[in-house]
Symmetry: C2
Subunit: 193 residues, 2 copies
């Protein structure tokens, strides 16, 4: 069984960067942009749709969106995307050791791969500063953007995995990247691989 | 400001041992038994009472116990114990660098000390095996004992800190001691000090 690192992360915590640098350090691939491309190829959904709806519920009420827009078999477009995404993640894990960022990979690979499950988080203040630096100012305050993202990601995770997001016991190691710094997180994770 | 390590832990995860070994490695004191003695001295409660009610709600319904047995000022004996416990923890943190295990020290020292906040957890199976090994068999199954302890500790923490127990974002580092092993946890925590 291949050794995989899955990185779950709060939006703005720098978890994606932690994943990329850890993979570089270990000399294994990190699937992020490439993962989107493979899912696009397989599912026919655009990368923009996948980026948004492969980890988040739709804007507005989670409840309405979960049960609206279903076809005659009861499946929503988000369910189709979930299935394709799951298949791609399982295939990548078969191919060789790698780092996979987000997309419930920790849950999808439970039992079928030898996984080190990581969670990266940071305080609201540190994440707000980071998203302004990385993505620029928007009309909405960074705090409001983060709260919306957190809420939608949490709901998505809960719906497809029936597990609570961000609870320490679901991960082998959970780290505050804002307090410890990105470099230190990379060192700690690499040392466990 | 002294540098303190607070270790919050699930019952049976070996968090106390992680704390003791980390303190030994760093050459600083670990307050556990000594903490109980100081609280006993200060509060007049027996060590047995402090052990049980300084981190756990009473057996049975949390709601009933939280509001029953209050004096004319509205304080329960558990509230008195909480106050004494808090004072002892604040004094110890003033004295010098140390490791403090449990007793909501992470919450009590927020803002008043330079703390590394650690959470140690493990799967139900690993914890069950450990408590049988450490404390022996009892009439109740180890799983039932663990569920009861978890529930009472979670309720205690929630009541006095108004914060959810075991949520990754409350800690700088959260570790699965069952999967990573006690030694590895000690190494990781020491490397952050």
């Amino acid at each position: 069984m291949n050794r995989i690192i899955t990185i779950s992360r709060e939006f703005g915590s720098g978890g994606r960067t932690v994943g990329k640098l850890t993979a570089e350090k270990l000399g294994i691939p990190c699937y992020d942009q490439e993962l989107l491309e493979k899912i696009e190829e397989k599912s026919g959904f655009t990368k923009e749709y996948i980026k948004d709806r492969g980890e988040y519920t739709a804007h507005g009420s989670w409840f309405i969106n979960a049960f609206a827009g279903r076809d005659s078999t009861g499946k929503s477009t988000q369910d189709y995307l979930w299935n394709h995404q799951r298949d791609v993640i399982l295939e990548l894990a078969e191919e060789g050791p790698c780092v996979i960022v987000g997309r419930c990979a920790d849950y999808i690979l439970r039992g079928s791969a030898d996984c080190l499950r990581v969670f990266i988080h940071a305080s609201m203040g540190k994440r707000a500063a980071r998203i302004v630096q990385v993505y620029g100012q928007r009309e909405e305050s960074p705090e409001k953007r983060l709260k919306d993202k957190d809420q939608r990601r949490r709901a998505y995770y809960q719906y497809y995995t029936d597990t609570e997001w961000g609870v320490a016991r679901n991960y082998h190691i959970a780290l505050d990247s804002g307090e410890l710094g990105i470099e230190r997180c990379v060192e700690l994770i690499s040392s466990l691989y």
